[in-house]
Subunit: 154 residues, 2 copies
């Protein structure tokens, strides 16, 4: 699935939107929810990796890829609202302040990430291990491209 620049930018930097519909979400709650999303995607990435390295269950891989793609497309940009660029009490974030200063670049990275996640989900539904291997590597690269620039301790 391809998406427009407009809709992705909306998803990534939907600060105004976040302020309106989620006025009740505190910055620390936004940080915790976005970390939950990344954590759950990480579990599913791990499952796909284990399948590629061992017994391959196309059903498990497809379900894992679907979860990653649906989370990636859920509008997590709304969880990067004002005040979420720093630790808040016990709630720590590894995001670099630069993420909030480079909307265009972050939007581009996010589009590539969502495209790679959608592609993996489509490929996984077909069940061919070698194809999954390539699509999985592409998705991993898309993850790392953002981590390298905008996540601390990498």
């Amino acid at each position: 699935m391809k998406r427009t620049v407009a809709s992705t930018t909306f998803g990534i930097l939907a600060v105004a939107f976040a302020s309106a519909a989620f006025a009740d979400l505190k910055p620390e709650e936004q940080i915790e929810y976005r970390q939950a999303g990344y954590s759950f995607m990480s579990w599913n990435m791990g499952k796909i990796k284990a399948n590629l390295e061992g017994d391959f269950s196309s059903d498990q891989v497809s379900k894992a890829a679907n979860a990653i793609a649906a989370i990636a497309n859920s509008g997590m940009g709304a969880l990067y609202g004002p005040g979420t660029d720093q630790n808040i009490g016990e709630v720590k974030t590894r995001v670099k302040p630069e993420l909030f200063q480079n909307g265009e670049d972050v939007g581009q990275l996010a589009r590539e990430f969502m495209d790679a996640a959608d592609n993996l989900a489509e490929i996984a539904a077909e069940g061919e291990k070698s194809e999954v291997q390539a699509a999985f590597a592409d998705l991993g690269s898309a993850c790392k491209a953002c981590h390298k620039k905008y996540r601390a301790d990498n």
Copy 2:
């Protein structure tokens, strides 16, 4: 989407599977990953609720419902392996021990939950607010049915 009893039971109580493919996942990691899944579903439930109570964006609701359904279908049963029935250091769990002793009942509740999540995703794709309202209420009931029996502090 309907699923068989066998595949759901596999998903819910896949202890043997978990031991094989995820031998590297410690019990505390399993607890953290499952909590991440529930937390992210909770964020998406909140978004749908906000849409039903205010301006209704069928696109946002559909994406939120897709995330919930994909997480629900991702095989979270593998995150209820041995040793995950109690707090582990700083990692706390609200699961009651009874969950691990009532596989058949838990499997039934999980099937109802996944069916309700799939139904909401299908309904949300059609974009009719009144239909979403009903499907959302059904999903909420399915969540609560399990919380009431198997989650502490409710």
